[in-house]
């Protein structure tokens, strides 16, 4: 089965942008989308998700809180949190749950490190 990325952002536009960047880096990967934390968790429960890219700034549960919950259920899943807000606390919280920090704007270059690393981990894990 193809590697599947879950993209979580309350903005449809942002989801498209992230999707394009990922497609440029890994053309044969599949993309799934969610607009908020509940949808994301529901989709994850269905299975088949290999890695997740989460926007930090969402109404309701923010991306870091969601990352912590996902990490609890999926100890080895590569998780990235996207934000323009580069504060030390945010960085520290991301590190604490083993999530990679990806700064906005989301471009190929911005995602490359995470995607390469995730690909590596997934390959190594198999």
């Amino acid at each position: 089965m193809a590697t599947t990325v879950l993209i979580v952002d309350d903005s449809k536009l942002a989801r498209i942008v992230a999707g394009k960047a990922i497609a440029a880096l890994q053309p044969d990967w599949t993309r799934a989308e969610a607009g908020n934390a509940e949808e994301a968790l529901a989709r994850l429960a269905q299975g088949g998700i290999d890695l997740a890219v989460l926007d930090y700034n969402m109404p309701g549960k923010d991306g870091l809180t969601l990352a912590a919950e996902i990490r609890a259920m999926h100890p080895a899943m590569p998780i990235a949190v996207i934000t323009a807000n580069v504060q030390d606390e945010v960085v520290a919280r991301a590190r604490a749950v083993g999530a990679t920090f990806v700064p906005k704007p989301v471009t190929e270059e911005a995602l490359r490190g995470f995607i390469s690393g995730a690909a590596l981990r997934l390959r190594a894990g198999r």
């Binding site: 490359r112 390469s116 690393g117 690909a119 590596l120």
Partner: protein
Amino acid sequence: MSVRLDGDAIRLDGPARVEDAEPLLALLHEGPGRTVDLDGAGPLHAAVVQVLLALRPPVRGTPADPFDARWLLPLLGPGS
């Protein structure tokens, strides 16, 4: 980047990324005396640098990135 064999030398072309470490390692294992040519190499990822540090193959050429040329190359040379 591509890691390819050119005669008995291993050529690194373009920026070296994390996924290039594995192929480089494989090529070095298969031919332990092979020289690694860095002339066409872009900025080296730590994973690639690591392989070169661990195995210490003969290295030739100068990477295009000035930081790599000035600071990494001396560490990869013989007897560093």
